[in-house]
C-alpha cells in the first residue's frame, strides 16, 4: 500500500476510493452518463411520480428475474446463455398446455379465483415446468462443463428448445380461461397496490445476493469464475458449477415464463422474441442488463445486486424514452449503445490490471 491515506491509517472515504480505483476517463464517462440520466429525469414530466416508479419496477421485474439467474452463469465464468428466451418459450408452452389440460382440472370449472382446485392446477403445471427447465439447464450445463463453448452450445440448444416448443404447441397460441390459478402471480397484488411480480423480483434479488455473499456455494461461484485453475486445484471443477448455474438460470427463466403466462392467460413460442415485444429480443435484453449492471463478463466479479440495479436502470431509461415519445427503434438503439458503452468502460477499467487472454 503506497497510498497516502492508507499509510496514515485512515480509511479512505468514498471519493478517494473512487479516484484511486478508476481512471479519470472512466469516471468522466460514467459521470456523463449519470448526468444525462438525471437531466432526463428532471425534464421529463410525470417521470418522478409514485405511479411511474411502480411501473418502472414492474417492467424491470420480468427481465430482471431472468437476468439475476443469468448472473450466476456469468459470474462462474461461463459467459452467458444465448438460449434464455428459448428456455422461457419452452417453459411457457409447457405451463400453458398443462394449465389447459383436461386431466389437470381438480374441481368445478366455475370456481372462485382463490379456490384450492385452481391452485392445485397451478401447482401441477408449475412443478412440471420447473422440472422441464431443470432438465434443460442441466443438459446445457453438462455440455458446457465438459468443455464445450457456452455460446455455441447454447446456440444449438436454443434451436432445439424453440423447435420442441413450437412442435409441442403446433406453433399456435395456447390459451386457458380466467379465472385460473396463476392470476395471483401474474396480475394480483397482496401488499396494497404493489404487484406480486414486483415483490417476487425483490425477494429473488435479495435471496440471490445473500446466497452469493454468505453461502459456500456463492463463494465457489466467484472462485470458479475468477480463476478456473485455482478452482480445479482446490477441487471445484467447472463441471458441477456449470450445471448448477445453468439450472439456476433456466429455473429463473421458467419462473418468468410462468408469471408472464399468468398475465396474459396464454402462451406462444414467440412471446419472448423481438417479433412480439417492441423492445428487442429477450435474450439480448437480459444479457444487456447483466452487462450494463457492471458484472465482468469474464466472470468472478460482480453481483446480483448490480444486475437488479441494471434492470431498473434500463427500465427507467426505456420508460423515460417512452414518455418522451420515442419509437422502438430509438429505444433499441439506446439499449445497444448502453451495452457497448458498458463493455468499453469495463475493458478500460480492466486494462492493465490483467494480462492478455
Amino acid at each position: 500500500m503506497t497510498d497516502v491515506t492508507a499509510s496514515t491509517g485512515e480509511t479512505p472515504n468514498l471519493v478517494q476510493r473512487i479516484r484511486r480505483d478508476y481512471s479519470p476517463l472512466v469516471i468522466g464517462m460514467v459521470g456523463l452518463f449519470l448526468l444525462v440520466f438525471v437531466a432526463g429525469a428532471a425534464f421529463t414530466d410525470d417521470f418522478l411520480t409514485w405511479f411511474n416508479v411502480k411501473t418502472i419496477i414492474r417492467d424491470a421485474a420480468l427481465v430482471g428475474i431472468m437476468a439475476i439467474g443469468l448472473t450466476f452463469v456469468t459470474l462462474s465464468g461461463n459467459f452467458f446463455l444465448l438460449s434464455m428466451k428459448e428456455i422461457a418459450a419452452l417453459s411457457i408452452i409447457c405451463f400453458a398446455t398443462l394449465m389447459s389440460a383436461d386431466w389437470n382440472q381438480w374441481g368445478t370449472i366455475d370456481a372462485d379465483p382463490t379456490s384450492w382446485s385452481l391452485f392445485m392446477t397451478f401447482l401441477v403445471a408449475f412443478t412440471a415446468t420447473m422440472i422441464i427447465a431443470t432438465i434443460a439447464g442441466a443438459l446445457q450445463g453438462a455440455l458446457i462443463g465438459l468443455g464445450g463453448n457456452p455460446i455455441v452450445v447454447t446456440l444449438g440448444a436454443a434451436g432445439l428448445f424453440f423447435g420442441i416448443g413450437s412442435w409441442w404447441s403446433d406453433n399456435l397460441v395456447v390459451s386457458y380461461r380466467r379465472p385460473h390459478g396463476a392470476e395471483w402471480l401474474g396480475t394480483g397484488s397482496f401488499i396494497g397496490d404493489i404487484p406480486n411480480i414486483t415483490v417476487a423480483f425483490v425477494i429473488i434479488a435479495v435471496v440471490a445476493e445473500l446466497v452469493l455473499r454468505y453461502t459456500t456455494f456463492g463463494r465457489q461461484v466467484y472462485l470458479v469464475g475468477a480463476n478456473r485453475a485455482a478452482g480445479r486445484a482446490t477441487g471445484h471443477e467447472n463441471f458441477g458449477m456449470a450445471i448448477k448455474c445453468c439450472i439456476i438460470a433456466s429455473v429463473c427463466a421458467a419462473f418468468v415464463a410462468v408469471a408472464f403466462s399468468g398475465q396474459v392467460s396464454s402462451a406462444h413460442v414467440n412471446y419472448f422474441s423481438s417479433e412480439f415485444g417492441s423492445s428487442g429480443d429477450m435474450t439480448i435484453m437480459v444479457i444487456a442488463i447483466v452487462m450494463v449492471g457492471g458484472n465482468s463478463i469474464m466472470g468472478g466479479y460482480g453481483s446480483t445486486l448490480r444486475t437488479s440495479l441494471g434492470a431498473i436502470f434500463i427500465s427507467s431509461i426505456d420508460n423515460m424514452m417512452v414518455l418522451n415519445g420515442f419509437n422502438s427503434g430509438a429505444r433499441v438503439l439506446a439499449v445497444g449503445l448502453m451495452i457497448v458503452f458498458s463493455i468499453i468502460v469495463f475493458a478500460l477499467v480492466r486494462r492493465g490490471s490483467r494480462a492478455v487472454e
Binding site: F79, M291, G329, G336, E357
Partner: protein, 346 residues
C-alpha cells in the same frame, strides 16, 4: 488409392464433412424423387448464395478464435439500407453504400476487439442489439419494399445451368477468400492468432491487423448476404434474418472448424454450407415447418459440439495418462537403480 488414404488421414475433419454431405444428399435423392433434379439443384445454389456467405464469415471468425454474433443484425441492416435507397439512387449505388457500411462496421468491431483486448463475443453481443436499433431506425420500424421489380428478376436469372448472378458472385467470393487465406501472409496471420495467440503475439504478429481483416471480411460477407436477400425478395425487415447465425454456425462446425481456433478452411465452409442446404431443401420437400428445421439444426450443432468436446477431453485424458505412465516408468527405473546401488554396500 494410397494417396486418397493419406489425404483422409491428413484431413479427417474435411473427409468427415464430405462424407456427411454426400450421405445427406444421397438420402434425400433416394427418398425424394424430385430432389435429384435440375431445378432443385438451382434452388440449392440459390440458398447457397446467402448461407454460404454467412458460413464463410463465421468460419473465418472461428479460425481466428472468435465468434461474430452480430452477423444477422449486420445483414439485416445492409438489406434495409439497400432496399430503402434503391429507388432513389439505383441498385448499384445503394448496394455499394450498404456494403461500405457493413464492411466498416466489421472493421471497427475488429479494431475495438484488438484495442480493448476483449473477446469478440462480448463486443458483438452489444453490437447485435445496437445494429438492430440502427436498422429499425433506418427502416422507420416498417417493412421496406422495392417498387421496381426488375432487379429481383435479374438476380435470379438462370446462368450456366445451375447458377444465378448471385451464386456466381458468392462462388467468386469463396475462391478469392480461399486464395487469400492460403497464399498470403495476412491469411497465415489469421490462422496464427487463432491457433496459438500468445505464441503469435510473442513472435511479432500484431493482433490488430488480422482482427480488423477478419471482421471486415465478416462484415462484408454479412452485408453481401443481406443485400442479396433484400434485393432478391424485394423487401427487408429490420428484425429479420435472425436465423442466419444458427445456420451459419452449424455450417462452419460441420466444415471442420474447432472452437479453439486455427483449424478449418474455406473448402470446409463450402461443404458445411452445402450440407445444411441439402438438409434444408430436403426437409422442405417433406413439408416440414421451419421450426422443425431449426430443431434439426440445433440437434446437429449439439452433436457436432459433443463430438468435438468429447474427442478433446478423451485426447487430454489419454495424454495425461501417458504422462503419468511415463513418470511411473522412470520412477521405477530410478528406484530399481537405487536399490541396485544400495545392495552391494549393505
Amino acid at each position: 488409392m494410397e494417396r486418397l488414404k493419406n489425404w483422409v488421414t491428413e484431413n479427417p475433419d474435411l473427409s468427415f464433412a464430405i462424407l456427411l454431405s454426400v450421405s445427406v444428399y444421397t438420402f434425400f435423392a433416394i427418398t425424394e424423387p424430385l430432389f435429384f433434379t435440375h431445378r432443385t439443384g438451382f434452388a440449392i445454389m440459390e440458398r447457397f448464395a446467402v448461407l454460404g456467405l454467412v458460413g464463410l464469415a463465421l468460419t473465418l471468425c472461428i479460425i481466428a478464435g472468435e465468434i461474430d454474433l452480430s452477423i444477422g443484425s449486420n445483414a439485416a441492416l445492409a438489406a434495409v439500407v439497400t432496399v430503402r435507397f434503391t429507388d432513389d439512387w439505383g441498385a448499384i449505388n445503394a448496394l455499394l453504400f450498404a456494403l461500405v457500411i457493413s464492411t466498416s462496421i466489421g472493421a471497427i468491431q475488429g479494431y475495438f476487439i484488438a484495442y480493448l483486448r476483449i473477446r469478440a463475443i462480448v463486443l458483438t453481443v452489444g453490437t447485435l442489439m445496437l445494429l438492430r436499433g440502427v436498422a429499425l431506425f433506418a427502416a422507420e420500424e416498417k417493412t421496406v419494399m422495392l417498387t421496381d421489380f426488375r432487379i429481383p428478376d435479374f438476380i435470379s436469372t438462370k446462368m450456366l445451368g445451375y447458377f444465378s448472378p448471385a451464386s456466381l458472385l458468392v462462388i467468386a467470393m469463396f475462391v478469392a477468400v480461399g486464395l487469400f487465406m492460403a497464399f498470403t501472409r495476412y491469411g497465415r496471420e489469421i490462422y496464427a492468432i487463432g491457433g496459438a495467440r500468445k505464441e503469435a503475439l510473442a513472435s511479432g504478429v500484431s493482433l490488430q491487423r488480422p482482427m480488423i481483416i477478419v471482421f471486415a471480411i465478416s462484415g462484408f460477407c454479412a452485408g453481401l448476404g443481406g443485400v442479396i436477400i433484400g434485393l432478391r425478395s424485394g423487401t427487408a425487415q429490420a428484425l429479420g434474418l435472425q436465423y442466419l447465425l444458427l445456420a451459419g454456425t452449424v455450417a462452419a462446425f460441420i466444415g471442420g472448424v474447432s472452437i479453439l481456433g486455427g483449424k478449418g478452411g474455406v473448402i470446409g465452409a463450402a461443404i458445411g454450407t452445402l450440407t445444411v442446404n441439402f438438409l434444408n431443401t430436403g426437409l422442405v420437400f417433406n413439408v416440414t415447418p421451419s421450426f422443425m428445421v431449426q430443431l434439426y439444426l440445433g440437434i446437429l450443432l449439439l452433436v457436432v459440439i459433443m463430438f468435438q468436446t468429447g474427442s478433446r477431453v478423451f485426447e487430454e485424458r489419454q495424454r495425461r495418462g501417458q504422462l503419468l505412465d511415463d513418470v511411473d516408468r522412470r520412477r521405477r527405473i530410478l528406484s530399481d537403480k537405487i536399490a541396485g546401488l544400495r545392495r552391494p554396500s549393505g
